[in-house]
Symmetry: C2
Subunit: 161 residues, 2 copies
């Protein structure tokens, strides 16, 4: 990845202050509606994802978990990530072994990412899977989830290269 990239990794700047609080509050509301519990560890991991400037690895989250510098235990974070993924608040990026907060306002959606191999940003977008879907159904498959990860260069890094 982009160790030789001089761009500040700011294509997806993390949230701070009121914006962060609003995002967490919105998640809390969604949880109440579905009678899910946004418990302290889940809330904390969501905060960390929202604050970050880019995809976070699980052990980055583990290290950053305690406000006092105390790391979390791995199961604490992995459980929170499972929950956040299940509720649609976060996505795992398979090809990076990393996690991002969901950036799409809408409720349920199939996540897809444009991943910059230079600066490391991962931009979520909502693709039209209709053709692939049709092909799969034609072959007799019942598709449940789709993972799409496109790698290349983001606009900023493309210019410099």
């Amino acid at each position: 990845m982009g160790d030789d990239c001089r761009h500040t990794e700011s294509a997806q700047p993390g949230l701070e202050g009121a914006a962060l609080a609003n995002a967490v509050a919105a998640a809390a509301v969604k949880c109440e509606r579905t009678r899910e519990r946004l418990t302290p560890p889940r809330r904390r991991v969501l905060e960390l994802l929202l604050e970050a400037d880019g995809p976070m690895k699980a052990y980055d989250l583990i290290a950053a978990y305690g406000q006092d510098g105390e790391p979390a235990k791995p199961p604490t974070v992995y459980r929170a990530l499972d929950f956040l993924e299940r509720l649609g608040f976060a996505h795992r990026i398979e090809s990076l072994n990393a996690y991002v907060p969901c950036r799409m306002e809408g409720t349920s959606h199939r996540a897809a990412f444009l991943i910059c191999e230079c600066c490391g940003t991962a931009e979520e977008f909502e693709p039209d899977f209709a053709p692939q879907f049709a092909a799969a159904e034609a072959a007799g498959y019942a598709v449940r989830t789709v993972t799409l990860e496109a790698r290349g260069l983001c606009p900023a890094c493309k210019v410099e290269a």
Copy 2:
């Protein structure tokens, strides 16, 4: 994955005997054309992938490597996998941490998979990425590779469910 699946995992039966030898020989020919070397470890890992009935994990390959039961050392297999991926003889399936031999006759292509969550088979298909590509280019991205992995139920498992 499908521990409760009673289907024999035979949607992608492994190669044996002459068919296996032919497939390996075809790979050898392709290598000669491009002056790449199909060395013993590379050939051995390719054989193991072709013989398998489904996606193989790296440590499955490591365990099965020696004909005498001796495992390989991890770097031996990971290096061979890197080579096979580079030449297009194998694909990594990110969401499974597993590898399959390429099933498409054509030369270069963007791989995509239909993965059955019941029986574990992974069928390669060649999708039309045009819409996603267009969307990415419109956003200013220069896409280099695309990973698409669809999970669901294969025809056989869909019937049973």
